[in-house]
């Protein structure tokens, strides 16, 4: 997991969703953030926009139980690598 990717995730959660910084850890699941399904979708969109990349829809459903912030970060890193090699269209 690229630390800067996780930093971007944490920044979105604190700045846009007003979550406490101390509650944001790699092992926390998306469905434990206190956000409903719509807000979770918005959160992932916001992180993708911040990083200028996009996770293909078939790789992630943020509403799926148990997906952790670390897994999200890894998916973003994967998408970033794919973008660098020209495989994925950016947002």
């Amino acid at each position: 997991m690229n630390p800067s990717t996780f930093d971007a995730i944490a920044a979105v959660l604190t700045e846009q969703f007003h979550l406490e910084a101390g509650s944001i850890r790699p092992d926390v699941a998306l469905d434990q953030l206190g956000l409903d399904s719509l807000a979770l979708m918005e959160f992932v969109f916001a992180v993708e926009d911040r990083l200028g990349i996009r996770i293909p829809e078939d790789r992630l459903d943020p509403r799926q139980a148990g997906v952790t912030l670390e897994q999200l970060a890894l998916l973003l890193d994967e998408a970033s690598g794919a973008k660098a090699s020209g495989d994925v269209v950016s947002s």
């Binding site: 007003h18 409903d36 807000a39 979708m41 918005e42 969109f45």
Partner: protein, 420 residues
């Protein structure tokens, strides 16, 4: 007022909490200071869009950080909705309206906005069409006109009626009046009522400019003092208004409910009326306005001579002020009531105007002074108005005030307030 007329009057409703976010202050002390000094918040706003010949428009923006407002829904807030939440929070805190002090099923939210969410929808569309970005999943719930109502209801766990009113510049006056009716009728005990509007975005500003109702400042846009004084309600040389943004919220409750929970009463809402001209989509009608003012007086059980201050709609447009001066004369007679339009300093707040201008009337009652009609040396002599020019005027025995809102679409709404 005859005894028969008094018997038709409704019972007053208590105002126990006030909150405001506005170009002239986000708390009552700063609001009062600017209101009674006649200090204008109007500034020049640069605009560069196709088809707009003028480089700057007059705007009254609020000093407000929307990012600091936590949404109970956790979805992104339209700036106007953030203002609404901040005003509602302040009003509830002022009223001591905390969980346990009311029955949630008897708390209602009544909120007015002319085009709530318009700014967010404009920016969303821009991101799609101009930046070729995708729509956000929260676009609908951020931009929907009842978003302020929904967020306020979520914040306070309201289980009674939660209704958004959209009737242009009368929206929040109607919302407050309808909340008053709901309390009087016994449907609810307490309401958070008011209005918000924030759409100082390029497309909305250009739309208003296209109507040619904004005060032209292109010739002196770099002169801050001249721009601040560009809106001159009821002056012979009036030339239009500035667009503003604001939210104002009131906690309204039955006097019995306020007394039972020991809430101090700041003022009484005594009368309300609304009607429609049914004449024209934009042109005002003196007969309709006069009927609304007379009906509000009857609802309050008061005579025109009881009113010590009229906060007029006063948009400073050529046609609007002339018609309103006529309707005021029909109800109050020539020079029959001290009048001012505070749009001169806080701009035209559209759907939030009725709420903020009711607040100006309440502050006048609290201070025993009528706010100055800023920027206007003297009223157009043909109007026959007792316009409060030059400086704020102390009025001995000021006990009742009226606030009028006359909207595009023909809706008229008039509120009457009294000292507690």
């Amino acid at each position: 007022m005859s005894s028969a007329a008094r018997s038709r009057a409704g019972v007053p409703v208590a105002v126990t909490g006030i909150g405001v976010v506005s170009p002239i202050g986000n708390d009552l002390d700063s609001f009062d200071e600017a209101l009674f000094a006649g200090r204008s918040a109007v500034r020049a706003h640069a605009l560069d869009l196709p088809g707009i010949d003028v480089p700057a428009l007059p705007v009254a923006a609020a000093d407000f950080d929307a990012a600091g407002v936590v949404a109970p829904s956790r979805v992104p807030l339209d700036r106007g909705t953030a203002m609404a939440l901040a005003a509602a929070d302040a009003a509830a805190a002022d009223a001591g309206l905390v969980t346990g002090s009311f029955d949630a099923e008897r708390l209602g939210i009544f909120w007015g906005s002319g085009m709530a969410g318009a700014a967010s929808f404009e920016m969303t569309c821009r991101s799609v069409y101009a930046e070729r970005r995708r729509m956000r999943p929260t676009s609908v719930v951020t931009a929907m006109p009842n978003a302020p109502v929904a967020e306020i209801a979520l914040r306070f766990g309201a289980r009674g009626a939660a209704i958004a009113y959209a009737c242009a510049c009368a929206s929040s006056a109607v919302a407050i009046g309808e909340a008053m009716r709901a309390i009087r009728a016994g449907w609810i005990d307490v309401a958070i009522a008011g209005g918000s509007e924030s759409m100082l975005t390029p497309g909305v500003l250009a739309s208003w400019q296209a109507m040619r109702v904004l005060a032209p400042i292109a010739g002196f846009a770099s002169d801050a003092g001249a721009v601040a004084a560009c809106c001159r309600p009821f002056a012979a040389d009036r030339n239009g208004f500035a667009l503003g943004e604001a939210a104002a919220a009131f906690v309204l409750e039955s006097p019995a409910h306020a007394a039972a929970r020991g809430a101090p009463v700041e003022a009484m809402l005594a009368g309300y009326a609304t009607n429609c001209d049914g004449m024209h989509i934009t042109q005002p009608d003196a007969a309709g306005q006069a009927r609304a003012m007379q009906a509000a007086l009857a609802d309050a059980g008061l005579a025109a001579s009881d009113i010590g201050y009229l906060n007029a709609h006063g948009t400073a447009t050529t046609a609007g002020d002339a018609v309103e001066a006529e309707s005021i004369a029909r109800v109050f007679g020539s020079h029959g009531v001290p009048v001012s339009s505070t749009k001169a300093i806080h701009g035209h707040l559209l759907g939030a105007g009725g709420a903020v201008e009711l607040l100006a009337a309440l502050r006048a009652l609290a201070a025993g002074s009528v706010p100055v009609n800023a920027n206007t040396r003297e009223a157009n002599s043909a109007f026959g108005l007792d316009l409060v020019c030059g400086e704020t005027r102390t009025v001995a025995g000021l006990r009742h005030a009226m606030s009028s809102s006359f909207a595009f679409g023909g809706t008229n709404a008039v509120l009457v307030a009294s000292r507690a």
